[in-house]
């Protein structure tokens, strides 16, 4: 290991609170010994990460309050030294930590609130793509429907929750008292996407539409999507239901490309 590499490893160990001999390489001055000088960096390391996480999870912060949120930040920073070049992505493991670690997983809604906030961040700067309109559907040749498949907008996310997390998140973001936590009998799915004005939209979706969207996202053809919908509707109902879904998706700007 080169001497520069040794210095850098020692410096990083110091920032992370690990045993380090870096202070032996730092000049002390009468008013400021090496440790005090190094502590400026150690403090800044943690403060900067805390600020980044706080920006990403504002409503989780509101829900937990300052003290418990700070405990969470301390644990997150201890568990996940940053390997990201861009601070934007540092906190992506927050839902995982909340889901897997005590005491945070004693309140399962915490992981879901964090997932909602992470989903908004992902939608905000997801890749750009064309957004088709209902007119693009109207101009399709009749033969296209036999093989028609879809490329959905890169910002589109299907989010599944066991609790009334969206209602709690919405109340927090409106600075209102959140409702009591309610656990659903079966998971509820929400759809989130970024519209043509770059505004993030969201709405709940029933299982049948969630299933159709998931199939569409996999690149399945329109006839295959119709077949999947037979789990929810009669053979007579399926064509109308499938077309209705598709029209809604086109109107909402969820579809980027049509392949046939």
């Amino acid at each position: 290991m080169s001497s520069l590499q040794e210095l850098q490893h020692g410096f990083i160990d110091y920032l992370l609170g690990q045993p380090s001999d870096i202070s032996q390489h730092i000049q002390s001055t009468p008013g400021l010994p090496a440790e005090k000088r190094l502590n400026i960096y150690a403090y800044a390391y943690k403060a900067r990460l805390k600020e980044a996480i706080g920006t990403d999870y504002e409503q989780l912060h509101s829900y937990l309050g300052d003290e418990q949120f700070d405990q969470l930040l301390e644990r997150f920073i201890e568990k996940y030294p940053s390997e990201e070049t861009n601070l934007r992505y540092y906190s992506i493991n927050m839902p995982t930590l909340l889901r897997n670690e005590e005491p945070f997983n004693n309140l399962p809604i915490l992981a879901e609130i964090a997932e909602i906030e992470a989903a908004f961040a992902n939608s905000f700067d997801a890749a750009d793509s064309t957004i088709l309109t209902i007119n693009d559907l109207a101009s399709l040749p009749e033969t296209a429907w036999e093989t028609l498949s879809f490329e959905l907008h890169p910002s589109l996310q299907l989010l599944s929750y066991n609790f009334n997390s969206f209602a709690v998140w919405k109340a927090l973001s409106d600075e209102e008292t959140p409702p009591e936590t309610v656990q659903y009998n079966s998971p509820e799915t929400w759809l989130m996407w970024r519209d043509s004005q770059l505004i993030t939209r969201y709405r709940p979706v029933l299982n049948e539409e969630a299933s159709a969207l998931a199939f569409a996202r996999q690149g399945q053809s329109f006839p295959a999507i119709c077949e999947a919908l037979l789990d929810y509707f009669s053979e007579d109902e399926v064509p109308v239901k499938a077309i209705t879904f598709l029209q809604t998706w086109m109107q909402e700007g969820l579809v980027s490309k049509l392949h046939y």
Binding site: S2, S3, L4, Q5, L7, Q8, H9, F11, I12, D13, L15, L16, Q24, H25, I26, Q27, T29, G31, L32, A34, R37, L38, I40, Y41, A44, Y45, R48, L49, A52, P81, S82, E83, E84, T85, N86, L87, R88, Y90, S123, F124, D125, A126, A127, D128, S129, P154, S155, R194, L198
Partner: protein, 299 residues
């Protein structure tokens, strides 16, 4: 003006005038009001994302203003291999923005599988010079253009340092062919923290390598000054700026504000002080951009 060509000619330093750091808080104002600012500096990493509003706003503002790009994550002084993904993303952004130039810091940020997200200082010696000069050359070859390297505020000095920071910076610029982004506030901060004379730094820097100035505010924390970018530029830094203008002539100047960010108009007023200092220090002939007077006054 073709910045790439001009940067090959040491005798003709391109002068862009007076700029500001572009911050999200000011997007709407800049897009709607198109305030009188010669150019904006962007933080490269803020736009190294797949898409959405950051890039859409960037494109809108770029259509109206010249830009330069300023990065914080190249980690040019690290002993880790250069981050190819980062450099690819940086090159993609450079192709999109077409900036006059791009810069990063005389520091390291990532090592030992960890990113500090901070600008960590280096020991100033021959080994480090060789290390940095080689890596900067690699970056410049990959990007296809010379880069600017900025002096930082620092709080520690290594026992392994055997020369001044300005000697170190000069040597790296000479060997790698990079240019210098001279942060006047960082000189002031480091001079206080390490007990040297700030004017010695300015006197010691090679004139022909200086391409841009940064100005910013700082905070006192006990016996140290911390480079917080959360205050106005203070009077001693304005004085040092005037001294730097006397030494280097007209150099593209901008104000960095990263915290406690005021309204755009307030920041623009502060930039007018830089214009005023330059007017009092330099000749009218020096303060021209592409043949036009650069000073527009406050909108």
């Amino acid at each position: 003006m073709d910045a790439k060509q001009d940067m090959k000619n040491d005798d003709a330093r391109p002068f862009l005038g007076f700029g500001l750091g572009l911050r999200t808080e000011h997007y709407q104002h800049v897009i709607e009001h198109k305030p009188e600012v010669d150019w904006f500096e962007i933080i490269s990493e803020n736009y190294m994302v797949p898409g959405g509003k950051p890039l859409a706003n960037l494109d809108k503002i770029r259509a109206d203003y010249p830009m330069v790009m300023h990065g914080v994550s190249m980690s040019i002084g690290s002993t880790d291999p250069l981050n190819k993904n980062y450099l690819n993303d940086l090159k993609t952004l450079i192709n999109r923005v077409e900036p006059y130039w791009y810069s990063d810091h005389l520091c390291w940020t990532h090592a030992h599988n960890t990113n500090s997200h901070d600008l960590l200082p280096l020991p100033y010696n021959e080994d480090t010079i060789n290390h940095l000069a080689a890596r900067i050359s690699q970056v410049q070859d990959f990007i296809g253009r010379p880069m600017l390297v900025e002096n930082l505020s620092s709080y520690v000095t290594y026992n392994e340092s055997v020369m001044s920071e300005w000697e170190f910076l000069n040597e790296i610029a000479k060997r790698s062919g990079c240019y210098i982004l001279l942060d006047i506030n960082n000189i002031f901060v480091s001079a206080h923290n390490h007990q040297f004379k700030p004017k010695d730094y300015i006197d010691g820097i090679d004139n022909e390598r200086v391409m841009q100035f940064h100005l910013a505010g700082h905070s006192y924390q006990g016996d140290m000054i911390i480079d917080t970018h959360d205050h106005d530029v203070c009077d001693p830094v304005w004085d040092l700026y005037a001294y730097a203008l006397q030494r280097f002539g007209a150099v593209s100047t901008m104000i960095e504000r990263d915290d406690n960010i005021p309204d755009f108009s307030e920041l623009r007023q502060e930039l007018a002080i830089a214009e005023d200092v330059a007017t009092k220090t330099l000749s009218t002939e020096q303060l021209h951009v592409a043949g036009q007077p650069v000073l527009k006054g406050v909108a």
